[in-house]
Symmetry: D2
Subunit: 419 residues, 4 copies
């Protein structure tokens, strides 16, 4: 993983644009043309599609409307690489993205270079009033796709009987975790949502008040060792622990353990971006669905926190944690970690909150307004960022979201309790 | 509809038990053996199944554990008529309920008589400590199935090209609604959830505090006339009005109007439990999904209320409205209604709140505890009761819930706004 | 089964019309309204649908075109009870026939009486030139549906956990079969297809020549005892015995034995129209698919006969056998049977011949021409008739046909060998 | 298409082995790594899979059992590249072949070289008695996959909105066909099946007799111009022309024309391996299903020939025609063709014969015996070879087969008539 250089700090937006664009190419670089073409399920996109779609975003929302004389790289790419924006026309079906052998990875590299070159002109044009905000959005968007690219290629490679590694990764030796500690928070009416200067997504707004009862929250994520205890206690076979839809999913899918766990001769392995590796009991459990997180918490005599509780507990904590720049590409034990106990990094943490608009939420006008609001149904909020999240892409107010059955994100949990 | 006699008032629990049991049989009485056998989709249960399942509830949770020497009516009925209780053993698959020709309606009548007879003994037994609570729960459960029975048979009959009526129903002549009025509510921290004496479901507890911003809420439901305006303005063809999952559903299902609306030679009809009838513009719109309610509200420049806002607005209002005892079996216009403007009755009202546990929620122990908690995912809350809800089965704190794509409930909406 | 009176012999067509119509009602008479309403899979039709559809045939093809002043019983029945005739307009979807609670069984009885009454006039009208042929076709058609009615209700009842009987049936005690005997047939060019006077279906024509190599054919059907030996030898678990599509079906469906066999405490039972009964080793095996018949024959070192071979072997044999008039409604052992060894009755026998037109085949013009020809793809021919075939509805040239995965017909096999 | 060199003639088996292996690599050479990875439907295999699977055949059936000290190239390839041979162990699911990014095309090239190198030793070993037959089978098998490779990549590229060409192809200018001529054949008992020296597949044996009525057969295939007339006469909208399963397929799939036809501004184009090209009315129609061929023949007042008739008509004709070595990769008009009117080449011709074993057919023992016999159900026979069939891979007795709904083969038709 020697070529992964994540640049963070006080950079101009132009510098950040090029750093982000370059990072995406670094993330794709260990992958062959074949690797970049495969789509292993409808939720997954091929690597080359991520590279093209993030480029399409700048072409569609920045260059075409704002750069005089700009010629789109290819007339059909607007159709091929639109993800879900109804406002900018038809799009190629999501579940068929793995059907596209063309454009190949070299043509996509040319597409990226073409757009990057044109963006240089636009980034120096002081007349483009709305540009800075949109460039910032494009950077944030591409950072989201960097995490998706890694989530997706992990799924692609995991389905191959050869279990190939994405890249060489050095993980800590298996160890044992100590018991979790708890922090108590008093009842009260809290201010929540984004307020600091700097970028945030529309779904973090407006800042607003919420009444919260007293609660306690575990400082550390649930570990693989604790998950093994849940499994050994029949966790996947006891309907009383599960939501009804969760139990139906467990039975329909035949779930017996988290995604990417493998049993071999009585030993547990985990498939990581570095290939199969022995399961580490001290490591935060990862790649679990909302249903599993909820069932575990019930089994443990606890519950999931609401997203409000999570944010109350995280407010004011430093934004340190195991992110993409640590180049582990896998969660690591809290004990012995340089970042110590922190709400951030390692694994996204499921909350019990359905993804809904904050009171007073407003979408931006136009196609860009489709960014978040239209997904506010049938999903649950996750908080905190993970080991594959770019380090400058997380906030205490950041709201990630997935359907309750999704497992291919780097998702785990911390538990909470009343009082 | 002459044989529909709904008994309300100050009755003993024994009286209420028999009144409820008798009401179920009254509701089934207009239906032939064939009508009572059909299952028109997986969500629908045959009428005879409802009659048997409500009986099974008393047999399983009251008679078998508490009545010495009780002999179950038939050894296989525990398997056939369990709905979803994992704690009491295996059950016949829900989507195959329409496959069962036996037991026939006469044998089910015998089953009901057998259980009613045995219940007489139990209801007089002062030693059964937990019985009163369970009998009350059984009554409430059977009342829920009375509404389901009518929802379900409406769906069954609607799928028949002959469009047969369930029974004769007298509906008001088509008229025009006046513009809705709005009531404003100040911001504040409110107490919510059940607190009065008397029965409530576990999902209405515990009473707890919520902070609410100032809001306004329409006093009247959205009407069919307003819905026609939405349709004429392209409501079902404009993706920008819809949640992403809603838009996908509209396209997959080919929705162009509410369920049960029919166009005939340029006129709109609505299929009711009294058969097809001309659409009444003044009548509250009914049989719409959460997705449609949400899209309409966005089109109207408003939004759905949260369930907290709904309850704040309904608190302290008298429990009057057009319920099952009005024997219309269809929503009727507010103007000219004897109950006037009321939050209750006519149609269930979608809220924007995902169905979640209240802070501090606890399920009851044992199989009865499966009643509500395990469904708290992937559903949205509806409030207020409908024209097919038994009148003594509603409260300001009552939480009904359905998946966002469901349309066969008597579901409509009132809109809300900030400030 | 006391009320089953099958009338055979030298009757006028009018007598035969009424005898056939009456027989259908006899077959339906043991069934409740609920029983007659259920459709247990797409291939199955409800009993009341069979009663109505056979009536529709006479109304559509005889009364409406030929009887002056005839008024159809109900304007929508043409839509509801058309099975597959494209030439006479739209039709209600086959897989939704179980959705129809109306018309109920009493209204269908009135429909039958209305048509029977009108047919009396037509049957006496010497002016209707084409009528005799169409009445004959209508009778033959209704006889086919008599067999289907029994096949279908057996499937319906078998899916009910209560395993109810259609009617009381007296079956012989379990016994042991003796080894099969073989009959050899020399090579030669044979005349095949219908030639005798009397009715035949279009698919039995024209009579034509076929060259056939020498072959031998078992005189008796394969028995349940032989099938148990196949099962015990791993028959359902050895892919080398199966056609590729057959093996895929075995695995997808989880087949381990013929349809309707049940294991209970180590004993084998068979569900019959008389309810569950101990498996009789001497009885012909029944309710097997083409795939199973083919695999068994391969396992036994034999093969299925072609339909040409079957007809060569059956030519000139008397039309005796265990048919519907024996009122067993289940295959019975050959040994001790009053009909002895015969190619006819007991079970339909799969042949290795895909269902194709004979050389020179021509469909009749008009909608009636859709009777057979359009099904000549993806099906295999069965010969001989079964225990639920009306006795005057079989010929040595009769061609029945089902898809190779179908098992709900009374289908078994006799094996053949080269030379 | 300059690098396509098909070698035919009097070569040793060793020469033919290397020529065939080399040809496969030539056919793959215009394709990128991405092109070779995609699977566009379950029936299609990725190019790189064809390259590996044909190699696996030699490794599994020749090298491993017969070459002392042979080391398989990779222990998992036996699992990944087995197509359907139950007798040699488990295999990777067919519909997931497009999920495999690894091994990549370079590793597969190494695999091919490894096996080719080892084959050199085996081919010189006189002790391997069964080798010659198996090498011959391996060559024939690889030739079949050469045609499949082209069929499959055509489908892959056709699904890409960019409509990329496989390679540059020079097709004749659109022209008009003259009316077809007919050849009459007398009734008689004919000898059919393979008898000449040289290789044939097991399904062409044994040679046997069949009685055939007098018939006439068109000398030329049905053209695109004739097909347009069928379309303009409502061919795809008239159920009376279709088999019942065919009509259901037309409606379910929305077929309005042959696969790969495109309408653009009122003009018809056809997607070819050279990209989109104007439709040529004189060209044989191609990429039609059995259902379409059958419906066309009925519309034209004719019928499909049986495979026996086809073989009678083709017997003794020279094996010339437009095959793969003509490098058109698309059917071309008969008029002006150097090969003139011939039963062979251009397009496979559907017959009305279900694919069945010949009288006396025997499979080879062992896994190789799974080659043909187990597919003898639910498929129809095609005869004659196509423009993508290797020229030394066809015979008058050659039996190709596909399910009646398949359209991605180069399949067309010639019509026949009685007498």
């Amino acid at each position: 993983m020697t070529d992964l250089l994540v640049t963070v700090g006080d950079l101009t937006i132009t510098d950040r644009f090029y750093a982000t664009r370059s990072m995406t190419e670094s993330l794709a670089s260990p992958l062959s043309a074949e690797d970049q073409t495969v789509q292993s399920m409808a939720d997954v996109s091929p690597t080359k599609w991520h590279r093209a779609h993030t480029t399409w975003f700048f072409e569609t929302f920045l260059l075409t409307p704002n750069l005089a004389g700009y010629r789109p790289f290819h007339p059909d790419f607007a159709y091929l690489f639109n993800s879900y924006y109804e406002g900018v026309g038809a799009r190629y079906p999501r579940h068929d993205r793995g059907q596209l052998s063309r454009p190949g990875i070299n043509e996509i590299a040319e597409y990226r270079a073409h757009v990057d070159h044109a963006m240089a002109t636009l980034l120096e044009d002081p007349a483009c009033g709305s540009c800075t905000g949109l460039v910032e959005l494009g950077i944030q968007h591409e950072q989201q796709h960097q995490e998706l690219l890694l989530m997706d290629i992990k799924h692609v490679l995991s389905r191959n009987p050869l279990l190939p590694a994405y890249d060489a990764v050095r993980l800590p030796k298996p160890s044992t975790a100590s018991a979790p500690t708890w922090t108590h928070h008093p009842e009260g009416t809290y201010q929540l949502g984004h307020s600091a200067p700097g970028f945030c997504f529309d779904n973090e707004l407006p800042r607003h008040r919420e009444y919260v009862d007293a609660f306690a929250m575990a400082d550390q994520p649930v570990t693989c060792g604790e998950w093994l205890a849940f499994m050994e206690d029949g966790g996947y076979h006891r309907p009383e622990l599960w939501l009804s839809d969760g139990w139906a999913t467990v039975q329909a899918e035949g779930w017996e353990h988290p995604l990417y766990w493998l049993e071999s001769d009585g030993f547990w392995l985990e498939f990581t971006l570095g290939g199969p590796t022995p399961l580490n009991p001290a490591q935060p459990v990862c790649h679990i669905s909302y249903y599993e997180a909820d069932a575990f918490a019930r089994w443990a005599g606890a519950r999931l926190p609401t997203e409000v509780e999570w944010e109350v507990a995280a407010a004011g904590r430093p934004l340190t944690g195991q992110f993409l720049d640590h180049t582990k590409l896998h969660p690591t034990p809290v004990a012995g970690s340089p970042t110590g106990t922190t709400p951030f990094g390692n694994i996204w943490q499921w909350t019990s909150s359905a993804y809904s608009p904050y009171p007073g939420f407003e979408s931006a006008p136009g196609a860009v307004g489709e960014y978040n609001g239209k997904f506010m149904v049938n999903q649950y909020v996750l908080r905190g960022g993970s080991c594959v999240t770019p380090p400058d892409h997380i906030r205490a107010t950041y709201r990630n979201f997935f359907p309750p059955s999704a497992r291919w994100a780097f998702s785990g949990l911390r538990t909470a309790r009343n009082g």
